[in-house]
Symmetry: C2
Subunit: 751 residues, 2 copies
Amino acid sequence: MSDKQTPIKDFQVIGTSPLRPDAVDKVTGRALFGDDVRLPGMLYGVVLRSPHSHARILSIDTRKAEALPGVFGAVTAADLPSFTDAGAYQRYQAENALANQKALYYGHPVAAVAAINPHIAQEALGLIDVTYEILPVILDVRQAMAEDAPILLDDLRTHEAGSRSDHSSNVASHEQTSCGDLELGFSQAAFIVEREFHTSTVHQGYIEPQNATAQAHEDGQITIWCSTQGAFGVRDQVAEILRVPVSHIRVIPMEIGGGFGGKNNVYLEPLAALLSRKCAHRPVKMIMGYDEVLAATGPTSASYIKVKIGAAADGRLIAAQAVLCYAAGAYPGSPVTSGMDCIFAPYKIPHVQIDGYDVVVNKPRTASYRAPGGTNANFAGEVVIDELCEKLGMDPLEFRLLNGVQTGDRKADGMPLPVIGFHEVIQAAQQTPQLSAPLEGPYRGRGVACGYWGNYGGTSSASASVNADGAISLVEGSVDLGSGRVAIAMQLAEAMELPYQDIQTVVGDTATVGYTEGTYGSRATFATGWAVYELAQSLKGQLCERAALLWDVEPDQVGYGKGAFTNRVSAESMSLRALASHMDETGGPVVASASVHPSKEGPAFGVHIADVEVDPETGKVSVLRYTAVQDVGKAIHPIYVEGQIQGGVAQGIGWGMNEEYVYDEQGRLLNASLLDYRLPTSLDLPMIETVLVEVPNPGHPYGVRGVGEMPIVPPPAALANAIYRAVGVRMQILPMSPPRILEALWEKERN
Amino acid sequence: MSDKQTPIKDFQVIGTSPLRPDAVDKVTGRALFGDDVRLPGMLYGVVLRSPHSHARILSIDTRKAEALPGVFGAVTAADLPSFTDAGAYQRYQAENALANQKALYYGHPVAAVAAINPHIAQEALGLIDVTYEILPVILDVRQAMAEDAPILLDDLRTHEAGSRSDHSSNVASHEQTSCGDLELGFSQAAFIVEREFHTSTVHQGYIEPQNATAQAHEDGQITIWCSTQGAFGVRDQVAEILRVPVSHIRVIPMEIGGGFGGKNNVYLEPLAALLSRKCAHRPVKMIMGYDEVLAATGPTSASYIKVKIGAAADGRLIAAQAVLCYAAGAYPGSPVTSGMDCIFAPYKIPHVQIDGYDVVVNKPRTASYRAPGGTNANFAGEVVIDELCEKLGMDPLEFRLLNGVQTGDRKADGMPLPVIGFHEVIQAAQQTPQLSAPLEGPYRGRGVACGYWGNYGGTSSASASVNADGAISLVEGSVDLGSGRVAIAMQLAEAMELPYQDIQTVVGDTATVGYTEGTYGSRATFATGWAVYELAQSLKGQLCERAALLWDVEPDQVGYGKGAFTNRVSAESMSLRALASHMDETGGPVVASASVHPSKEGPAFGVHIADVEVDPETGKVSVLRYTAVQDVGKAIHPIYVEGQIQGGVAQGIGWGMNEEYVYDEQGRLLNASLLDYRLPTSLDLPMIETVLVEVPNPGHPYGVRGVGEMPIVPPPAALANAIYRAVGVRMQILPMSPPRILEALWEKERN
């Protein structure tokens, strides 16, 4: 269900919904994923992982393992280059790939072995002797921040804006954003709500586990086939970890079975390359079990968040304060700054202060997860806003119309917002069928929450050639996670004024296309789409020159439109297809390359509406109905835009209701399987209704703004607000799983 | 041993000899050839071939084969599209892939089957019932030309310039080139020699057999992995045979184990695609046995050639006539016109007439073989010239200095020759150590022959991007048969003024690079080298613009040289490597694409000197010493240029001395194995000495002229002329194998 508004112009291809070319191959099993890579002489690598979540590694002896028949070699951190002259970030990258001196989380790689088959490799793991000195475990972000907490990284000092502390700490950084005068603001407030929130560690839950096959050549070149969101990112990281020039590495991205931010980082890639180097330069293939995926790839941060918001009696927001403490896992790098950016972004508030702490704990190093950091922060902010609305006696959407940001408003960091469609989204939400549908019955409630995500631009490249049949072969650099090939090809088709079917698209690797950042930050359709728009301008210009040569006129006497050239002198016409068969006579094939690095992103706002029913006996929450309204900018492929929104909501519901990492006191992950880590299934989800509000982004040739991340931001807050309406408890912890709901209900009964 | 002359300028990279990047992978078995393609659900296809060399196919019944468990499907010509509205050439292409109504040679494909493994597929072949009506067999070109010869192709009419005969014929075309007045010319000649020559069918003898894996997708797209000299040529041909648009096909060229012209045509590719379509859209892999390679891929033409040449008493050539009859195999397309171009090309002759006939016979359709058609013609022409020199009492090289063509001379077809180095080559030959070395002993002789090859330009494309470490990733379209990646990357390095190691090169496929003709016609280093030269101009221009942005000056105030930019205003300097790390700040990565279609080729001339010893008891000829002198234009990579020459000579010696197809009277190939088809081994060959004469081609940015084909042109003639000096018999047949030598010696004794 798509509700289009304010189109820029009449499009021929944009706004239609052609089928994706990879669909049949994927459902028939023919699409080539990393597991399908089979090379002559290939070995299989496996990883020895730390059984301790915090331990000093006193010694590693791989000799018995290496002596096992069929084993070709083993690697440990001793096989990595020295990082004594490198920055901490680079060293952490390497240490996360292979623990050096200390294991910092359960599952931290300690060694890797390659053998002629995975069974022998597994057997060899048991022959590696590692001596550990077990250290105290810190899992909780606030415990880690305590003055007397055991220290994970001896060299880590708290980075404060403008200064650096002189003692070790688990707090990697503290940042603050502020505007106005917080004290003054709260002093003027008629209503103030202040609450604390906790969110658990959750994983992206992509279906395909991490995998990598590497071939290290004798001349130092390395080829890697893997499942990644960005081949160039893998290249950059492997180059950092192995300390080789980026151009010595070729990364070939295979088809990908989900990433959601979790496949931007490398895990197996550097190990496979190291093993290949050490094992007679044979190719080495490595595939994680799902237990390894959960235990040792990057989930997103657990967090502790404190929020205080004040409003005037007329409902206007006056002051807001937040403290966000995000668990980075074993090495610095939580998305706390994104959480800071998101938490009050939807609102005009004159007096704001936001503090963010990036804190290391004995959990796997966090990675991006769809709108990284946004969901945690938005949960806290929007639950407090809901309570404030209740105190004010205001309808939550009316409150947001009153306080919601508009184009040109400044965020707490002082940056003005570009053209946004938040108010259009709120108004569209007010018109949704769900909002006007009665919700009757006990234990039922309806909640709303809004959400924001800034989106990202970044570097993209593409190249193309015109075929003799007039179709265009496109090579673009964005790994296709969720129909990117289609959405990018459609923009080239639109720009070339050709049917979508006339564009044949492949995703290039690091050797065959220019630098392109990964498919993250809701950037692929936006930035790579822009790159192919530029490509089209070059192709059309060259084709007009060729037509001019054939007609013996000047290029500016040739017009182009809808797949045909016009001779403005003679009024003759020639189809692109006809011209394409004359390439050699006019100088050879028409080819073009383009790259872009757009800096004007298009932020996305959304409003989500959730209807729930709570079973007071079991604490189980059923999501009865769900509508997601979002300003998607110009929707290139509306059906896949809806799919993105539905996917994000599904993940947000999982995060809100059930997903969490369960550790024992020693920091061992107890639910490292998809049976025990409770992803939502189709039985847990209603049909997710979507409303696409199209406020074109003037900072893109076709008005695209990012779509994919925003939908995961509002769900936990919307569900929490619905649960409050259903049973009167304000949930301040994620997931809002049955035991937590029951605890809250019992607590409410007690008071 | 390289003897460089007349360098254009000081080069930094060109003229050095770096190692090829594929070498280690190829010797260790890691390089990925077609046989290494392994896809999920892949089937194996095999071909049923005609056991008759001329037969009508009355019926084919594949039902029993298809019913065999494990078999997924079978295809016959009935599975091809209709060609009723298509041209004859296109139909012949399809009929050669799968015989329709008639089998025209031993080994002609009649059906193909795909099964879960090759054994079941082979078993299924035995279950296909084919009913043949056997027809009379024509193997010899002159028999095929006889008025009453059985006709192979009922629709074939002799194409005469300007007219078309109205009756069926085995003569596909008759062309004539002439200049001057032949009768007048011969009337003025003091010496005339007229001889007839026969050459046998010979094969390129590449080591890797043909192979192809195809995936036909449900949406009509087809992906093909194969061993080919040109991915785009495979695409064009499969598109013709299956009648689908070229852009619906993606061809991925794997590493190639030799081609020499024999891997420009498709054999298995369309069958694998048809089978994939029919077999549940599973990928289908097909690999020929070497018996199939010899029996059913394209060898080069057997030929009958008649030559008459007249010279004045002072040694000047006056008139020359030739009739060339080339056996095309089962369908038209022998290289007779190239033979016509070659036969008198080295000489200034005022009165010339050359007739060429392209004739079908019941042998496999011929394909290109290194300087296609040139060796046959040159053998005839240079043996007659040698006899003429003898009659004139002139030294063969002095004769060639007197009569040899120079820049600007016109060929028989009226075309003027561009800058050539024939006289420089003759003079260099006069200085070779071999020529001044005494050759003593009985049955020993020294022969010389010259040779010409026109070379070819054609379409090439490339694209590139600048990496953050300053190295350049290059995608070029020329399949690497004999170090092309190196020779092309060196030209980009030279143009970029960077070390060779800073260029990372991959060969693109039809989806990832612009149209590029195959690696044939000695064109890859020439034309694709030119494309990367153009690419460098674009990259340098863009990089200067970026440097100008950083320096806040105009682009024309930025200079570039030896990997560094200079600010002409401030005299600041910045390395390309330093600039490369600032790409995003200046608009994104620098990427470029280029294509060329050069029409000015650089012809190559050579002189070969052979010393032989003939065993009069057995007829065995030993090649004692061999020197090849050639104008190679500017030698990009001298060691690989020498390797090309040595390889061409080795093949020319094989062709001259031993190789031939042996058929029985029913047209069955009797020596379809590499045990019986006698390729030269290292024991048959001396060290082949080379002299590189470098007369730069002004029609190329770096003076490149083609190298690879010319070396196969002179050997049989040089050997024949040496044999004459050794034992006094003028061989007029190829191969000059022991029985033929003995026959000639016995014939001489009889007279």
